[in-house]
């Protein structure tokens, strides 16, 4: 018994120290922080180790659209255009582009760009890459609108869409639109084992279940990165990522747990970077359900949720109020507060009574079995209980969750959506085009919204498009088929001598530009 008590005291003491920001605790980590890789002799470190929460499934960008994969492949491949950290379109492999007509865009490629295998990038590679993407079921959903890709000359390529598409350029910034080396991809049956792109880092090795090692590409068109070796290390547990950062095992750790922010910030050897992401978390209602089909019921639920408390409980306060719209603040057409739902339990009860449920009802809430879902589901369960709705939480693995919710087995569900353009966000959430698996899991269909979406996509007048998006937001905020709750913060912790790192709201941060030391 004594032993337990003693060890508890030790643990308590140690925790207390850690909590204080580590006056004593960090002293021990000092040597590690100065030189995690033990390259004590060399003046500047040029090896960067990045801790990521999920292992990539591929290093070929054209197989599957998952964040784990894209966070790595974005370093290996460049796209025609890119978004900078402030979400402005910047030329990358395309030096410039002309909009020929509503459906045709001409890209003028940067000359003399080398692939990692030494070949020069040409219009043929661009055409091949985009067609390869369109042919791949796992990544093509954003590009099916492309009808033709024409090579004009070696350095000019023309993309034709079947309908006007104002957000084409944004979509071409996504990793699924990565430009791969045609020669390399055609010569090997397993491009995934030896990917060749023209990005700032080239593929070196991938131990299955272990580290992925990349090396600086010395002939990178924008100049070689000062980071010569880039290692991605999968550490699924957020607390372990923080510890790895503290012990100096890694230089950068993605997606720290909100509860660790204070500790990391208080540590003089470490620093944090945070930004608002394009990821919006929401609770959705299956409108095909007889009870949830009633607008008043959905509104009543909205009134029952105290978003501030929800953000405190679920995100430890590190998220922004989603302001009743699925659009995140930096997206074009963001129009908050068109319709608002104050936290008002009495009003919620009244609306329920109006809908015919004065004593509430029971329903299911489908969530995945990851921490954030668990915290959120418990908070939602409690919130809805206040107006008399009994929530049964159904927690399941990701695959089951996605499948069940796309079939509409659920009543309520909690989920997130990340997007960098208004069309893909609104279309995925509220359009008939995307019922079920493609994103519309509330099965909410209003023909008017679909029309407006198409119109906004086709128009070249961005003010008109903004206006249309605003109207759509007004309708969906009134109907609340889903209630947006929070816009997640993206965060990264790093050693304080890591400089130049920029967070990218689309979650796939570019390492290029990062350097260690001054």
């Amino acid at each position: 018994m004594k032993k337990i008590v003693t060890s508890l005291l030790i643990v308590a003491f140690v925790l207390a120290m850690a909590g204080c920001g580590g006056s004593g605790g960090t002293a021990a980590t000092q040597p590690a922080a100065t030189s995690p890789q033990g390259s004590a002799g060399t003046p500047a470190r040029d090896k960067l180790i990045v801790a990521i929460p999920e292992t990539p499934t591929y290093v070929d960008p054209h197989i599957q659209a998952t964040i784990g994969t894209f966070r790595v492949v974005t370093q290996i491949f460049d796209r025609l255009v890119e978004l900078d950290a402030d979400m402005n379109l910047v030329p990358t492999l395309a030096e410039s582009w002309d909009i020929k007509d509503a459906t045709t865009t001409v890209f003028h490629l940067r000359k003399g760009v080398k692939f990692h295998d030494g070949n020069t990038m040409t219009a043929e590679d661009v055409k091949y890459s985009l067609e390869r993407c369109i042919a791949s079921a796992g990544v093509n959903y954003n590009y099916l609108i492309i009808s033709e890709i024409n090579v004009i000359d070696e350095n000019t390529v023309e993309i034709v869409t079947s309908e006007p598409c104002s957000v084409l350029l944004y979509r071409l910034t996504l990793d699924a639109a990565s430009i791969v080396s045609k020669a390399a991809a055609e010569s090997t049956s397993d491009f995934n084992a030896a990917p060749v792109g023209c990005g700032p880092f080239k593929f070196v090795s991938w131990e299955l279940g272990g580290d992925i090692t990349l090396a600086a590409f010395e002939d990178y068109w924008a100049g070689a990165s000062p980071i010569k070796t880039l290692v991605f290390k999968t550490i699924p547990e957020s607390i372990s990522r923080t510890v790895a950062l503290e012990t100096g095992e890694v230089d950068i750790a993605y997606d720290l747990s909100a509860t660790d922010f204070a500790t990391v910030e208080a540590n003089p050897k470490l620093k944090m970077a945070t930004t608002t992401s394009g990821t919006v978390w929401y609770v959705g209602a299956n409108v095909k359900d007889p009870i949830l089909s009633k607008k008043e019921v959905r509104q009543a639920m909205a009134h029952a949720i105290n978003k501030q408390d929800f953000i405190t409980l679920t995100f430890n306060g590190n998220a922004t109020d989603a302001s009743n719209t699925m659009m995140s603040p930096y997206l074009m057409g963001y129009a908050p507060d068109l319709v608002t739902y104050d936290y008002d339990v009495e009003k919620g009860k009244a609306l329920l009574a109006e809908a015919g449920y004065p004593n509430g009802f029971s329903c299911t809430l489908y969530v995945q079995d990851a921490q954030i879902y668990k915290d959120a589901s418990v908070a939602l369960q409690e919130a809805l209980r206040q107006i008399g709705i009994t929530v049964e939480i159904k927690s399941m693995d990701g695959a089951t969750f996605t499948s069940a919710t796309s079939k509409g087995e659920h009543q309520l569900f909690f989920m997130s959506k990340t997007s960098i353009d208004p069309d893909s966000m609104l279309r995925a959430m509220y359009s008939e085009d995307s019922l079920g698996a493609s994103g519309n899991r509330t099965f909410y269909v209003v023909p008017e919204i679909d029309q407006m979406l198409d119109e906004a996509l086709a128009t070249t007048d961005s003010e008109h498009a903004k206006d249309l998006y605003k109207q759509i937001q007004a309708i969906v905020a009134e109907d609340v088929p889903l209630y947006p709750l929070a816009v997640e913060y993206l965060n990264v912790g790093m050693q304080s001598d890591v400089n130049g790192f920029k967070l990218y709201p689309g979650k796939t941060h570019y390492i290029y530009g990062t350097h260690i030391g001054e």
Binding site: L8, L15, I239, D260, A262, L313, E382, K394, S395
Partner: protein
């Protein structure tokens, strides 16, 4: 030594013949200080679970969330602190015992009954039955039990009932094995031959002779397995396959509290200690029971 054993056993038998088996076991158990300690700890936990409603307001302390008092350290008001949504940890641990213990007992009861029957049939029945049953058990044994439970919960979905089934199924093979081997040992003993000789039928032999004699290893195995079961429930919850919120359950408390361990050590530490104490007490009791039920095994 031989001399010693003969003397002591004969005298003990002589003097205590009048007392029932139960009283004898109890008396031996009482002399084992560790087992008594285990029994006391377990009783405290069980009593707390039974009278949980008198101790705490379930609604107010174990379920209702309160963002203003989240992650409060232990204090006079909340003895073991509050969790990430402002619930009292002590109250949740006490109510958690209401889940962990009954579920663990139930799984073992199911496993013991099914495993016991299978083992008895295998041990007492025909060679074919024995072969079929034991080969199937071998197959189940070749799959690690945690993984079997994970697969079953993943298949059936996570709920108390499915958790129960999953853990029970993965516990069947050891019971079947134990009973089978006891049955085979006992079956070959003379008193069974004697019973057969006087024309007792199989059922009577199984229920009147074999099962009571196989009870001792069964009870010991059951006590140990309850401990294992408490751990399995916690493990599955840790992997996100456990009992669903807001039901307080130790494993999920541990797993939820885990990400706060550095800022709020109490959230994760106390449920861990609750699990440890429960398992410890069950193990102590199991050891004591084994010694008490079968003095020959002692030392």
């Amino acid at each position: 030594m031989n001399f010693m054993t003969t003397i002591t056993t004969t005298t003990i038998v002589k003097r205590r013949k009048k007392k029932s088996q139960f009283v004898m076991v109890w008396e031996r158990l009482k002399q084992n200080r560790l087992a008594v300690a285990g029994l006391v700890i377990l009783s405290v936990i069980v009593l707390a679970a039974i009278f949980a409603n008198l101790l705490f307001d379930y609604e107010a302390m174990a379920v209702r969330q309160n963002a203003s008092i989240r992650l409060n350290p232990p204090s006079s008001e909340h003895w073991l602190g509050t969790d990430e949504v402002g619930r009292d940890i002590l109250a949740r641990i006490v109510f958690g015992a209401r889940i962990s213990l009954p579920v663990a007992f139930a799984t073992i009861l199911i496993a013991a009954v099914i495993g016991g029957l299978l083992g008895a049939i295998a041990g007492y029945g025909s060679r074919t039955a024995d072969n079929i049953i034991m080969r199937i058990m071998d197959m189940f044994l070749a799959i690690p039990s945690t993984l079997l439970a994970i697969a079953i919960v993943a298949t059936l979905g996570s709920s108390i009932r499915n958790l129960l089934i999953a853990i029970a199924v993965s516990n069947i093979p050891p019971f079947a094995r134990i009973i089978r081997s006891s049955v085979i040992t006992i079956r070959n003993e003379e008193f069974i031959e004697a019973a057969q000789a006087i024309g007792a039928n199989d059922r009577r032999i199984i229920f009147k002779h074999i099962l009571p004699n196989a009870m001792a290893p069964m009870i010991v195995q059951a006590t140990m397995c309850i401990a294992g079961s408490v751990l399995s429930i916690a493990s599955l919850s840790f992997l996100g396959l456990g009992i669903q919120p807001p039901t307080p359950e130790w494993g999920s408390m541990l797993s939820n509290g885990r990400q706060y361990i550095r800022v709020a050590w109490w959230v994760c530490t106390f449920p861990g200690i609750a699990i440890m104490l429960t398992i410890l007490s069950l193990n102590l009791l199991g050891d004591g029971l084994r010694d008490a039920l079968d003095p020959k095994l002692k030392n």
